[in-house]
Amino acid sequence: MAAPPAIDVDGLRVVRGGRVVLDALSLAVPAGTVTGLLGPSGSGKSTLLRAIVGVQVVEGGTVTVLGLPAGSAGLRARVAYATQAASVYDDLSVHENLAYFAAVLGTPAAGDVERVLREVGLTGEAGDVVGRLSGGQRSRVSLAVALLGAPELLVLDEPTVGLDPLLRAELWDLFHRLAGSGKTLLVSSHVMDEATRCDDLVLLRDGAVLARATPAELLARTGAADAEEAFLRLVRTAP
């Protein structure tokens, strides 16, 4: 018997500002995997992630996360979320930011802040005020907040945007280590070459799932040489 999915979305409909962003969207994300959510900007990626985290007003359908309705109080320490724009305090130091969010999570483990600082490679910047960091460093602080504690599901909205190739490779290694320890990761990106780093892919277009496949399946199905080409072929042949 297969394990229940970490995320189960059924018939989700979201309307924002009078515009239908997601409609009749259904999706299951298996536990212990890194799933990439890909699609052009405006395809509804962030809205879907917000619905999964439970901060989005939804019009219809159900979103079940770790067996509970999305946004349940019981999920708030089990689901970590990093928004696309770095959601951290610019006027606090890196360490002060992490210490505060750790206190909010109720993370008891001493050294948790130091652990996430190492994981995102910001140990040397711990005392720096976030507002004076580079854009890439700021988004790593925001990612570090999502790594605090022991979340079972990590929902990361474009976590690697603006980072150099070396750092991106390191973070993807980290994501796979986390998945290896049983955590589930849902990572959005509009950079198609990141697709090959995922176990599983969800291609979103105009608020609907265009394709669902592993990177190898996607290339085989479309006969494309890379993920970007595969995506273009899918879009062009879609009804």
Binding site: V53, R76, A77, S87, E96, Y100, A103, L105, G106
Partner: protein, 245 residues
């Protein structure tokens, strides 16, 4: 809601303030400079300064704390940290009480400094006990914080938040009984002024100015302002939504 998370939030807000010494200086000095200016304006009429000084001691910290609190909490909303916090195990009251505690502390320092200036160098002469004057000033500054927290829920931008100051504060100033005694207003205006918390703060100050003994009315006034603080915080928590469009 847990005390630990409330305290962590208060500490975080104070840490942010510490990084902004100019704001702290403005917060503490502006009410004092305004009160000093008031004393200079009424230099030739010491009776007038004694009459309206206490009321303005209630008003200035109230206005400053209202503005600062509403803009700061709005910054939390626009920076995305509010959404992040509300997706975490943080109670809505944890957040509001954390802010109220941090700014309440600033309000205490501010109101104490302003009161000491008034009673000392500016030579304000009051019949009632000076410590109670300080208490009313502090409670009123905390009321400014609580109202600022509440109205920030209705502002989408900092520009809007600033506009709430004249909208929320100035009517209370006009109707609080300082310009015209409340019982000389029309019935409608008097009824409106009876539901505005600043009216009670100013009433308490005016009684302390002329009455040597602490009357029950002063304590009732203080209780009403305290209730308005609790109500503002409760409404603020109720209007904070974890899910947004």
């Amino acid at each position: 809601m847990t005390g630990r998370r409330t305290l962590a939030t208060a500490r975080r807000v104070l840490a942010q303030l510490r990084r902004d010494p100019r704001t702290v200086a403005l917060l503490l000095l502006v009410p004092m400079l305004l009160l000093w200016l008031l004393e200079l304006v009424f230099d030739g009429q010491p009776g007038t300064f004694d009459r309206i000084g206490p009321a303005l001691l209630a008003l200035f910290p109230f206005v400053v704390m209202f503005l600062v609190t509403s803009v700061t909490t709005l910054r939390e909303r626009t920076s995305g940290t509010l959404e992040r916090l509300l997706s975490m195990p943080l109670g809505r009251l944890d957040l509001l009480l954390g802010y109220a505690l941090a700014f309440g502390l600033v309000a205490v320092v501010q109101a104490v400094l302003a009161s000491v200036l008034m009673l000392g160098p500016l030579g304000l002469d009051v019949a009632g006990p000076a410590w109670l004057l300080v208490v009313v000033a502090v409670v009123d500054a905390v009321l400014g914080c609580a109202l600022g927290l509440f109205v920030s829920a209705f502002a989408r931008t900092e520009f809007q938040a600033v506009q709430f100051m004249p909208a929320v504060v100035l009517p209370q100033f006009l109707l609080c009984g300082l310009l015209v005694p409340r019982d000389e207003m029309g019935a409608v205006l008097e009824a409106i002024s009876a539901v505005l918390p600043l009216s009670y703060a100013v009433d308490a100050m005016q009684r302390l100015t002329v009455e040597a003994d602490v009357s029950v009315r002063v304590l009732v006034d203080l209780a009403v302002v305290g209730a308005a603080i609790v109500l503002s915080l409760a409404l603020g928590a109720a209007t904070l939504r974890r899910r947004t469009a």
